[in-house]
């Protein structure tokens, strides 16, 4: 009697890559809810457009590459890229901006490199940076948080939002404004205390910046849930946040007019938490070993701070992540873990052979 020939091991744990991606999607929900509450329908529309474009682009390229479409779409990686991008792009951004960013992410940054697993750069961040450099005005127009809207102004409703996104209608005055990091960056010559007093974005905030602080807390919660579910290890996100906190403490200088801002502001503004738990943890483009991920995370944290404090972009997660991606193979070379039975770890490019 003949039996099937299969290579060991025969048992497998029951978690698939698709399930991991779905968990990541689930973990973005708290952040998405808070952001939507703070900034209206725009983000949901972003995510919808991004998801449709991502899936279509992925399917098209898979077809061109003669790959089974359904099999690869089921890994949900395109959806994750789309959702992360949708969360990062400004709400009420024109539809074509979202489409361009997403299609670039999927087609250029991912599929042209060979698809999931082969991309050296985080696709969502590549798409974001392309949009940021190409369309700076659209990319720096954010919606005012709900609690800071004037009494007679409110966020556009669903239909109104759709009209703004698809038909190019202008939003009502007072609906858009600066982000806390943006505002802080463009308030030269003022003491930190003065900036905080003059702007309701800060003065009405609990600890960092109105709207953003709670969105960051929500992403932190989602991220910690993923950490608990062992989707990723603590190394990269903690190293990034730790370095960011350390740098902002070192250069805080008590709030002079040259101060780049408080640690709380840096940790809970912009894309800090989204970046730390959903972008830096992208395993494909990060360093591979735990030691490598510590260095990788720390490098990104450092770059985020450097660009925010002394660069010309108010938020810097995307640039920092891409630079980190560049460095990842180099970091990998020096951080191969010590194998059982070996006195010390070796370099990835070690030429000496041993058995």
């Amino acid at each position: 009697m003949a039996f099937k020939q299969v290579s060991s091991p025969h048992s497998h744990a029951r978690q698939s890559t698709g399930q991991i991606m779905q968990l990541v999607l689930l973990a973005t929900l708290p952040g998405l809810l808070v952001l939507s509450y703070q900034f209206g329908w725009g983000l949901l529309i972003n995510i919808l457009i991004a998801t449709i474009s991502a899936i279509s682009a992925e399917a098209l390229i898979l077809k061109l590459r003669n790959r089974p479409i359904e099999f690869y779409l089921r890994d949900y990686s395109a959806v994750v890229t789309a959702v992360l991008l949708g969360l990062a792009l400004p709400p009420l951004a024109p539809w074509w901006l979202v489409v361009v960013a997403t299609v670039f992410s999927i087609v250029i940054a991912k599929q042209l490199y060979g698809g999931l697993g082969s991309n050296p750069f985080n696709p969502a961040m590549v798409g974001y940076v392309v949009a940021l450099i190409s369309f700076p005005i659209e990319m720096t127009t954010w919606v005012t948080p709900v609690s800071l809207l004037a009494a007679d102004v409110s966020h556009p409703g669903l239909l109104e939002s759709l009209a703004i996104v698809f038909a190019g209608n202008s939003p009502v005055d007072g609906v858009t404004g600066a982000t806390p990091l943006d505002l802080f960056k463009h308030s030269d010559g003022l003491l930190v205390e003065q900036i905080y007093q003059n702007n309701s974005l800060f003065s009405a905030a609990s600890f960092a910046g109105v709207g953003w602080e709670w969105a960051n807390v929500a992403f932190l919660i989602g991220g910690l849930a993923l950490l608990k579910a062992r989707i990723f290890t603590w190394h990269a996100p903690m190293a990034m946040l730790g370095t960011l906190a350390l740098m902002s403490m070192l250069f805080w200088d008590g709030g002079s007019s040259n101060s780049p801002g408080s640690p709380l502001m840096h940790l809970f503004s912009g894309a800090s938490m989204l970046g730390a738990f959903f972008i830096v943890t992208d395993p494909v483009s990060s360093a591979v070993s735990n030691r490598g991920r510590l260095i990788y995370g720390a490098l990104i944290g450092l770059l985020v701070y450097v660009i925010r404090a002394w660069g010309s972009y108010p938020d810097a997660v995307a640039f920092a992540v891409l630079l980190g991606n560049f460095a990842a193979p180099f970091i990998d070379n020096y951080t191969v873990p010590r194998t059982y039975g070996h006195g010390q770890s070796r370099r990835a490019t070690d030429k000496e052979t041993s058995e």
Partner: protein, 577 residues
């Protein structure tokens, strides 16, 4: 309480051990035929010492160890040798190998066994020979000949003896049940090993804490023996030799070395039992405990099977339903290999036959892309980076694979187990290891061939130069001759005398210098003397135990050799003067 070290990585697959532990060790009815592969162990194949048609008794030696690392094979039951030929054996490739087939006579009659109950009087060498003679090989699955492991000759003294009763593979309960039922004999075996090794300072039995009954049985038997039973949390693969040594001692076996280099010996508990049988009862290794489990069999339990029992016989006796079976595995679900046919025999290393149903172990989904999630690195007990090894294996980057210590992979399968993309990682590593070993062999062969080629080139060049110088010398000599006898050149070869003269001239130029002649003669003389000596020896033999005819013949050849020596010596004296 002994300190336990925690290994990195590891996984916790469902252990599925309960189903085969509902009843004790069972016995199977005698199969019609037993098939005994000559290689059931690590090392050289055993050398057959019986012939087809011979009647053998249970326990009779059929094949003896062929090298220092090899193991003898004995008849598991009485009967006739009906074939010695290639048969399908249990191997991942489904290959055939030389086997001895015994057709059982049903009498199951033992050969006379000579035990050594008073083993303490025996020397280590005697005990080791006894174990070697009994064909004991590691019963935990690796099948390393035990006598070779217990050879203290080349290594440092053994201060730690570790008995591996971990049995970390899911489903398998062979060690567990053996300990539960025969702990006393296992301890006796350990005491023999300890005596053989010169009573190591520390004797430890390592066992996972999911076997409370076995632990209790061991603790009871170990009282007052100085043997320590150490239980530790269940985690796959704690039972790997290197992992167990680390768990119990905190020491790592250096890459490429053996536990013996650390003064340790590690043996399976089943092997200790086999050693007790071999030494005290004088019974060779002809049976072992094998777990039969999986939902495709109605009965799940352990059997004391005779080595050589066909898997099909075991399955038939236990209401096996082939339609339910998704695959047939020899060994456990993590490191076992699938059998393509059930017509293969159970051997010394067969810990388990697992016949899972389709729901139990379903056919795997196709592999998805690796996202370097790192779950594999978290699971690796050797702290390797399986995800990197996978990429380099796919790229055939042998250099990087070796820099990432591919050869320290123990193929435990923990990485594949956790891989969310269902990538057969271990299969990639096995394949790459094979490729690298082949490439190394090819490189070594090529190096030898190149050396030989280069040497040949040099030799040919040398010969060329020698020929060239000779030719040049000849040309010069001819020219010289032309000048000294211009008359000959005028009548250029028209008369016979001229031709003879020219030939003589050629002969004289061709003639080697006296030194060369002398050297040549010396060589000839030496060879002649050698031949003379040989001839004299043969003559001596012939005179002591040969026929008259042979004597005359040898005498003649001695005479001839003598003559040759004399002639050569004479010519040599002529040349030297």
């Amino acid at each position: 309480m002994r300190r336990i070290w925690d290994t990195p990585g590891g996984v916790h697959p469902p252990d599925n051990k309960a189903q085969s532990l509902t009843s004790g060790i069972g016995q199977l009815p005698l199969p019609e035929k037993l098939i005994l592969p000559l290689t059931q162990h690590v090392g050289g194949a055993a050398k057959v010492c019986v012939s087809v048609g011979e009647k053998v008794l249970k326990g009779q030696k059929l094949a003896s160890a062929s090298a220092s690392i090899s193991a003898a094979i004995h008849a598991p039951s009485s009967g006739w040798i009906t074939a010695i030929e290639e048969r399908a054996v249990a191997h991942p490739s489904g290959m055939s190998a030389p086997c001895i087939e015994i057709t059982c006579d049903g009498e199951d009659r033992w050969i006379e066994c000579m035990g050594y109950p008073d083993y303490k009087q025996a020397t280590p060498l005697q005990l080791r020979n006894l174990i070697a003679d009994a064909g004991v090989a590691g019963l935990g699955g690796a099948g390393f000949p035990s006598a070779a492991k217990l050879d203290r000759g080349t290594h440092m003294p053994v201060d730690t003896l570790i008995i591996n009763a971990t049995e970390c593979e899911p489903y398998i309960t062979a060690d567990d049940i053996l300990i539960r039922e025969r702990a006393d004999q296992i301890i006796q075996g350990i005491e023999i090993i300890s005596h053989l090794l010169g009573t190591p300072k520390t004797i430890l039995i390592g066992i996972e804490n999911n076997k409370p009954e076995a632990i209790a049985a061991l603790n009871q038997q170990c009282q007052g023996t100085g043997i320590e039973v150490v239980s530790f949390p269940t985690k796959y693969p704690s039972g790997g030799e290197k992992q167990l040594i680390y768990i119990l001692t905190g020491k790592e076996v250096p890459s490429g070395q053996l536990p013996a280099d650390l003064g340790m010996v590690c043996l399976n508990s089943g092997t200790a039992f086999a050693i007790k049988r071999a030494v005290i009862d004088g019974e060779p290794l002809i049976s072992r405990i094998t777990t039969l489990t999986g939902e495709a069999c109605d009965i799940n339990r352990n059997y004391e099977i005779l080595i050589g029992t066909p898997v099909s016989h075991l399955l038939e006796q236990n209401a096996f339903n082939p339609d339910l079976c998704s695959r047939l595995i020899m060994g456990g679900p993590m490191m076992g290999f699938s059998l393509t046919s059930s017509d293969v025999p159970l051997v010394k290393t067969s810990t388990c036959i697992l016949a899972p149903s389709h729901t139990e172990i379903p056919d795997g989904d196709p592999a998805q892309a690796c996202i370097r999630c790192g779950l594999c690195a978290e699971a690796c007990p050797a702290s390797l980076l399986p995800q990197q090894l996978y990429w380099y294996a796919r790229a055939d980057d042998h250099e990087r694979l070796q820099a990432h210590n591919l050869f320290d992979c123990i193929e435990c399968g923990a990485c594949s187990y956790v891989c969310p993309s269902n990538i057969p990682l271990v299969q990639y590593y096995r394949s790459s290891k094979g490729d690298i070993v082949n490439a190394r062999t090819a490189k070594a062969t090529a190096a030898v061939a190149r050396e030989r080629f280069e040497f040949r080139q040099v030799r040919l060049e040398k010969a060329d130069t020698v020929r060239e110088t000779k030719r040049e010398a000849r040309r010069l000599a001819t020219e010289q001759a032309k000048i000294t006898s211009p008359t000959t050149t005028q009548s250029s070869g028209s008369s016979a005398a001229d031709i003879i003269k020219a030939a003589q001239l050629r002969g004289s130029t061709r003639q080697a210098s006296p030194e060369q002649q002398k050297a040549k003669l010396e060589r000839t003389l030496m060879a002649a003397e050698m031949r003379l000596k040989e001839a004299q020896q043969r003559l001596l033999q012939a005179t002591t135990n040969g026929s008259a005819d042979q004597q005359t013949q040898q005498l003649a050849s001695v005479e001839a050799a003598k003559r040759k020596v004399e002639q050569t010596a004479q010519r040599l004296t002529e040349v030297s003067h």
